[in-house]
Structures are given as structure tokens and as C-alpha cells.
Amino acid sequence: MKTLNTIFDAWLDELKMISKDEGVLLFFLFLPIAYPLIYSWIYNNEVAREVPVVLIDNSHSAKSREFAQKYDASPDVCIAYRCGNMSEAKSHIGREEAYGIIYIPHDFDKCLGRHTQAHISIYCDMSYMLAYKAIYQTATAVCSDMGATGLTPLYFEEVPIFNTTGGYGNFIIPGVLVLIIQQALLLGVGMIAGTRREERYYKKIPDQEWKIAGMLGHSFAYLMIFSVMLAWITLIVPRIFGFVSLVHGSTLFHFLVPYLLACVFFAITVSSFVRYRESVMLIVVFTSLPMLFLSGVSWPLSSISGFWQGVSYAFPSTFGVRGFIRMSSMGAELADVQHEYFGLWIQTIVYFLLSCTIYQVRGRFLYKNQDSTTK
């Protein structure tokens, strides 16, 4: 009974602390609510349409004009400039007015008429990845369309099976959404821990000895807030922006419970490294992108080396992002994400034990060291 009371006290105390602290509210409420909206807005258009291209037509023939018309008519590119030579075309690229060059040589028409192979060149900088894709794929399509003879013995069909539009938003957003929860918790809980430390040191407020029961109370407070945020992020945001969401409510619930628990205890563990309220931002913010990469969103999982795979197992986001993407974008069931599901439970247990240890020893350990702690 006494333990239950302590848990309740700690829970209430933490909620009070959160509601009074604007900095923490910023991380617990504003960040999970607003960031998904901002990101979704940025990637709202999903694909690059009408990428401007420079055309150099040295053939000046009916065939080359047919090519240009067909190329221009495609949804992904448009011929913005027609130039007489290469250096003129390059100056358009330099001024960011176009992103690629199509070059039709003078013998294009002659080759087609003579029944020898004709050539078309595209010059493109691959650092504009989506622009490159649009320019290249359209050119391939128009070339094979104009060259089609109907004589091919074998047809083939290309089928994008998930994320069928190849949209950038649908690719990156689910991962970002799940990661935001973890980062918001790290920042908020870290800031609370930093505040406690400062108060203990500067105002000499005797710290309440919360111990394990207190840790449970605190975690309940975080869980309460973040289950709402998680519901907002995984159920409502995708609907507002029309992102693919193939997941069933109950499957999602089963998967997100361990994710949220793992994140909470992970945040408590990390918060023991925070000395001042504000330094948590210095430590946490820049890790977001590496964590996104480690989860295998941008860089394929099969190409991540064993060492980094090992490192990635330390973060709940790794499993959370992988599992969530597969469920929400590909309609996987819980059994398909078993590996991730168990990974999250293991993390939950490990970080729970670490959190307990930290709360148990924190008081003693810190009081002894506080005199040597300077700014």
C-alpha cells in the first residue's frame, strides 16, 4: 500500500513539474504535435513534377521534334530552354534554371532512316536525385516508345509493389514520425532530470528519495502523455496528409506498447547523463539523423555493416521505425515484425533495469560528487 502511495505521489509530482515547466511542455506537447505537420508539409508533393530541362537539338528534323514533343509531354519533365550549344546550356544549369541537358546529335534522323542505331545523350548531375530520376526515366521511356517495333519476343512489366507512386513523403515520413516520439522523450525527460540536478545543487532543495517506486510513478506520467501523442502521430497525421496507412488498430497497439515503454526507460537512462537543463539539447538533437539512418530507412539495412547494426540495437527507434514502416506502408502483421517486436521487449527490460538502478543509486552518488561539479 505504501508503495502504491509513493507511486501515486511521484506520478502527481511529475505531472505538476511538467505542467509548470514551459521548456518541458515544449518537448512533450509542441514537438510531437507540430513537427509531424511541418515535415508532412515539406514532403507533401511527394514527387518532382515538370523538372526543367535544356534541349539541344542539332538534328532539326521531324523525328527529333517528335522526340522533344513526347519528352515534354510527360508529367515529370518539361523542356524549359532550347539552346544552340553546350556552353549555353551549361549556363542555364549554373543558374539553377534547369537540372539536366538533352542532346540530340545532328545525325539522329539520318540514323533512324538508314536503320542504324541512333543516339541521344543526357547530361545530368545525380546530386539532384529525384530530378535525375525524372530526367533519366522519362528519356528511357520515350526512347523505347519511339523505337518500339512490336517485334519483341518477350514483354515485361514493372510493378512497384509498395509505395507505388515512389513518393518521397511516403518513404521518409513514417520513419520520421516514429523517431520524433523517441527524441521528444529524450529531450523532455533529460530536461526534467537536468532541472532536478540544478535545483539540488543551487537551491539546496533536498531531493526526495524516489527510488524504484518513484521511477514507476514518473514513467506513468510520461506514458500517459505519450500514448496520446503516439496516437496522434500514428493514426491521425497520416490521415490528414493522406499517407499510406495499411495497419490495423489492434496490431499497431500491440507493437507500440513495447516501443513506448522502451523509449520511456531509454530516456530515463540517458537522462542520467544530463547535467543542465539546456545541455540535453546539445546532446540529443544532432543524433536524430544518425538514428534515422541506422534504422535502415535511407540506407538499405542489408548494406549496414555488422558494427553499426550492433550499435543500432541500443536505440528503440531502430526497431520502432523498422516495424512501423513495414506495418503501415506494407501492411505487415505482428508475426512479420516478430524480430523487431521482441527486440523492443528486450530493450524495455534492459532499460527498465538500468532505470531502476539509476533511481536507486542516484541520490547517494550525486550528493557526494556535487561539490566538484562546477558550471
Partner: protein, 390 residues
């Protein structure tokens, strides 16, 4: 003035958070991204095969795609359903489907259709296996056609012209190896450093207010402003300058590793890289001080800087191009130092366009560096009024 410098350098050395964020974190991030994308382009991405035909032809095609650089056939499935399930389990990124009687239909010229399925959930993996599978399918069609045409007595030239009347020559400028490391590391690493500069700048200013309030009579803390004899501009300048120098050195160090050791392409030359490092540090610091001046609350200023720094990764336009974003975002992108960084890097270092093409971006970065002049009075007021709020 010397006193002030000594004090700042002392602060940077004594508090581990500065060394952590100014030197260790950038180097760690450099190591992380470059070692993660060591391969350049992802290789041997796992794909599957659903072979309902089971002939030497389909087996030959399977071997052929396996031999491609980006793909590796890891499994055979008996049905399309099973293969789809494997994608959902993340075992494979795509699969080839050979329908029943493919070979016999092909030889009888009944023009059968084979298909390949690829998942775009990971765009990188999706587009790489798309390219390989498309090539294999084209070659497969051509291979059969070639046999028939040879039998009819056509010359190799004629066969080529019949199978592919218009050939497409792709010239990838700047990075013909399609090395992702060159693109991504060269953007993500400076972006992370710029993010850290934002935060460290605001943190170092904010912590002055915070601790001035808390330990007025403390030992080494002879008031920072008193030391500057009331010259506030000088106080800020001496606070920022040592950080500028450290960050420029870190940039040069990171660049030496990227361009010197790892041989990232940089036909633009060494001095432009140095110029870019200088511009990045100055503009990021200017932006940090400016935000702190606008909102002299440490936490709010740091939050805004975090937001700005994290959004930079998107707003630079490296992955999703800025011209494809909504119009308001295109204008806002001008307020991101990283956007200008990207344009300068892309045009003048990865390519060899003259610096005049990016004059406006250089100017924009410099103006970001001078932004603090607008708010210096506000910062001063904030300091004098001890406005730290938790």
C-alpha cells in the same frame, strides 16, 4: 580584451560539453556517415525469384541478375503470395516473376509477359533493384530476339538497330560512379556541424545569463560585462571569435578527411572549400546570435535553433528538391544557411562553375553572419536585466 579572450578560451577548455560538441561530435558524425556508406552504392541487395517455368532460360536469367552489382538472389519462392510476404518481412526488396510456359511461348513467338516487382518503401533500394531488374528483362528479350535475327542472316549492326533503334547515353556529371557517399556525406556532415554551431552559439550566450544570476559572487567569475568595460559589442565578439576559429579548424579537418583522404570529387579546388567552411561557420554563428537576440530566452532560442538545424536537412534540397516543394517553403529556404551551402557546393565545388554564379548565395550567407548587428541592443538589454527563465 586579452582578458576576455583568455576567459573564453578557459571556458571552452574547462567545460567538457564544449569540446564534446565542437570537436568530438563533428568527428564522430564524420566517421559515422563515411563508414556507414563505405560501399559507395549499396551492393547485393537481397531479391527473390518466383520461377513457375523452371527451364534453362529462366535459370540463366536468374544467374544473370544475381551477377549484377546491386542485386543478389537470396531465395526462391513457389508463389507470388509467398514472395510478397517475404517483402513484408523485410527479407527481400523485390522479386522477378517468370510465369508458366514463358520459354515455350517465347520460342513460339506468342510474346509472353514476365514481371518484376519492387518495393519503393526504401526508395534507395527500390530504385537500385529497379534498374538492375529492368536491364535483365531488356537483355532477356534482346537475347531471344538476337538468336532469331541471326538465324535470319542479319548483321550485328542491323540486329542492334532493330532491338534498340534509339540508344540513350547517360552522362553523370561530377560523380560517374554513382557513389552515394559522395553526395550524402558531403551534405549531411556539414549540416550536422552547422546544427551544432547554432546550438553551441546560443548555449554559450545563454549560459552567461543563467550563471550570472546564480553566482554573482563566485570565485573566477569576475563579471563578463565588467571585463569588457561596458563595450557590449566587444564582449559578444570575443565570446564568438574563439568558437569561430575552433569550428573553422574542425571544418578544415573534416574536409581534409573527406576530400583529401577519401578523395571526394572536388574539381572546384581547395580554396573554394576553405571559403565555404568560413561562410558556413560565420553564417551559422550569425544566425544563432540573431535568434538569441530575437528571443533572449535560452531554452526558446535553443529550441528554435534545433528546429532550424533539423529542418535544414530537408530544406537544403539534397533529397527532395526545393523546387518541388510548396511555394512558401521555397521562399523560406533562403533563411537556411544550409540551402546556400548546398548550392555553392553543388555548383562551384562538385562542378566548376565560376563563383559569380553563386554570388547571391555567398552574399546571403554573409548577411546571415551580419544579422546580429540588428539585435545587439536587445541582447544587451537581456543581459543587463538578467532575464533567465528556466
Amino acid at each position: 580584451m586579452r582578458e576576455l579572450f583568455v576567459r573564453e578560451i578557459h571556458i571552452l577548455l574547462v567545460h567538457p560539453i564544449y569540446i564534446m560538441c565542437m570537436v568530438v561530435a563533428p568527428l564522430l558524425i564524420t566517421f559515422f556517415f563515411t563508414s556507414l556508406m563505405d560501399e559507395g552504392a549499396p551492393q547485393n541487395l537481397p531479391i527473390g525469384v518466383v520461377d513457375l517455368d523452371q527451364t534453362t532460360t529462366t535459370r540463366k536469367l536468374t544467374r544473370m541478375i544475381d551477377a549484377f552489382q546491386s542485386t543478389k538472389v537470396v531465395a526462391h519462392y513457389t508463389s507470388m503470395d509467398e514472395a510478397r510476404h517475404a517483402i513484408q518481412k523485410n527479407d527481400i526488396y523485390g522479386f522477378l516473376l517468370f510465369p508458366k510456359d514463358l520459354t515455350s511461348d517465347m520460342l513460339a513467338f506468342r510474346q509472353p509477359k514476365m514481371s518484376f516487382y519492387y518495393s519503393n518503401t526504401s526508395l534507395t533500394a527500390g530504385s537500385l533493384i529497379y534498374k538492375d531488374m529492368k536491364t535483365v528483362c531488356t537483355l532477356a528479350a534482346a537475347g531471344v530476339g538476337q538468336g532469331i535475327m541471326q538465324a535470319k542472316g542479319m548483321t550485328p549492326e542491323q540486329i542492334k538497330a532493330t532491338l534498340q533503334p534509339i540508344a540513350l547515353d547517360t552522362h553523370l556529371i561530377g560523380n560517374p560512379w554513382v557513389n552515394y557517399n559522395f553526395y550524402l556525406s558531403a551534405m549531411l556532415i556539414p549540416n550536422t556541424i552547422i546544427l551544432l554551431i547554432f546550438l553551441v552559439t546560443v548555449y554559450s550566450l545563454g549560459i552567461e545569463i543563467k550563471f550570472r544570476m546564480r553566482r554573482e559572487n563566485d570565485r573566477d567569475n569576475k563579471g563578463w560585462l565588467e571585463m569588457a568595460h561596458g563595450d557590449f559589442g566587444m564582449a559578444i565578439f570575443t565570446k564568438i571569435l574563439p568558437q569561430t576559429l575552433v569550428f573553422i579548424c574542425v571544418f578544415i579537418l573534416v574536409y581534409s578527411y573527406l576530400f583529401g583522404w577519401l578523395h571526394f570529387p572536388h574539381p572546384g579546388g581547395f580554396w573554394r572549400i576553405v571559403l565555404l567552411a568560413f561562410l558556413s561557420v560565420v553564417s551559422a554563428q550569425g544566425f544563432g546570435v540573431f535568434i538569441f537576440g530575437l528571443i533572449p530566452s535560452m531554452r526558446m532560442a535553443m529550441s528554435v535553433c534545433s528546429l532550424w538545424g533539423v529542418l535544414s536537412f530537408s530544406m537544403a534540397g539534397t533529397a527532395f528538391p526545393v523546387f518541388a516543394m510548396d511555394a512558401p517553403l521555397q521562399s523560406i529556404s533562403w533563411m537556411f544557411p544550409m540551402r546556400h551551402y548546398y548550392l555553392i557546393y553543388q555548383l562551384c565545388i562538385l562542378n566548376t562553375y565560376p563563383l559569380t554564379e553563386v554570388l547571391i548565395n555567398i552574399f546571403a550567407m554573409l548577411s546571415l553572419g551580419f544579422l546580429p548587428l540588428l539585435v545587439i541592443k536587445r541582447i544587451e538589454r537581456a543581459f543587463v536585466n538578467y532575464a533567465y527563465e528556466p
